[in-house]
Amino acid sequence: MSNGKSMMVDTSRCTACRGCQVACKQWNGLPGTKTKQTGTYQNPPDFSHETWKLVRFAEGKAENGKPYWYFFSDMCRHCLQPSCMEAMKKNEIVQDTQTGAVIYTPQTKDLVFKDVVDGCPYNIPRQDPKSKAIKKCTLCLDRLKANMIPACALSCPTGSVQFGERDEILKVVEARVAELKKTYPKAKALNADQVRVIYIVTDDAEKYHKYAES
């Protein structure tokens, strides 16, 4: 019995080229939204019903006095036991049995959005103001069914985003964290036993993004 799929997002390899952010829009036919420059590279500023993959930028000064700049290619974690599903009335949110992808159907329009988003420790779901349907990453389930890997994983130049069988990815994550610990004692995988999309960080998770870790 397969344990489904998983994705590693290794922030130590991310260059914030935002290939993943655009590849997601390209594949899913999502529009470029109107944004403003507010003094950061991060744009759009946050997820929306039209932005399911977003590279977050965080900077500061390290202990050695030099700058740091962390990139967090944020997306739905596709939890093994999604707490967002607790907001369901019927079966508005489904979990694909083969891959484990968590899918919001159009029927999510019938849910109380606040219940759904409050149920998500990673602050992922967003509501379409028109249709009221709730939107987020699908793990490119349509691609998976056609034996294609998710658009963001394909686009990633550096191997920061890698996709595969969960059992394999867990091994890759474990080996990578062990390697990174030699240089970065704080290196760790975030919530690896709870999520399918596993982030690796080399510093305190909250320095990357408020909702990086649950």
Binding site: R18, G19, Q95, T97, I103, T105, L141, D142, L154
Partner: protein
């Protein structure tokens, strides 16, 4: 551009195609079945013509796979070529956005535009009209201004009142054609992005 609203059903259709997942969860199949009848994007791409191309931004030359709908002739997807040894399927933000450089972009120029002296607007013209007029302008300037000899009396055979610029965004064969043309005309003001 495709409508996003369509997208919201594709995921469900994909889940349906996954087999028992939905029915075992008791999903109302009727609602998604209609959409499952339609080809999902992944299926449409499998049915499309695939063309190898090269990214049009920096000088890495990442390999692209363009999927063209055989019925409409329109490009429906562009992604990285996993076989290409340099990019191995990867693309940056610009490369991943190549779809918006295709004819799908409503801002693409589609007509010959002409702006007359002191005019405040563009006018649409035909190719024949524009080519004829441009060729005539070139000849008029060249006939008037061609320099056979310089101040020292040396043969120089050049024309300094017309310049040419561009482009590193053209294919090799186009660049070469322009180089040949410019030299035959006698141009010396020839340059492009390579210098800047």
């Amino acid at each position: 551009m495709r409508k996003c609203s369509r997208r919201e059903f594709l995921a469900a259709a994909g889940a349906f195609a996954g087999g028992l997942a939905l029915s075992s969860l008791g999903i109302p199949l009727g609602a998604v079945q209609a959409f499952a009848q339609e080809l999902s994007k992944a299926d449409r791409i499998k049915a499309a013509k695939t063309t190898i191309s090269t990214c049009y931004h920096c000088s890495v030359s990442c390999g692209l796979l363009c999927s063209t709908d055989t019925k409409t002739g329109k490009i429906i997807n562009i992604e990285g070529d996993p076989e290409h040894p340099v990019n191995e399927g990867a693309l940056c933000a610009k490369g991943a956005a190549m779809f918006q450089m295709s004819a799908n972009n409503e801002h693409r120029l589609t007509k010959v535009l002409y702006r007359a002296p002191y005019a405040t607007k563009w006018e649409e013209k035909t190719w024949d009209w524009a080519i004829e007029r441009i060729a005539r302008k070139i000849k008029t300037a060249r006939d008037a201004d061609f320099i056979f000899k310089n101040a020292k009396g040396q043969m120089v055979n050049r024309l300094e009142t017309i310049g040419h610029m561009g482009s590193s965004k053209l294919d090799n064969e186009e660049c070469w054609l322009i180089t040949a043309m410019a030299r035959a005309l006698g141009l010396v003001h020839i340059d492009h992005q390579a210098r800047v």
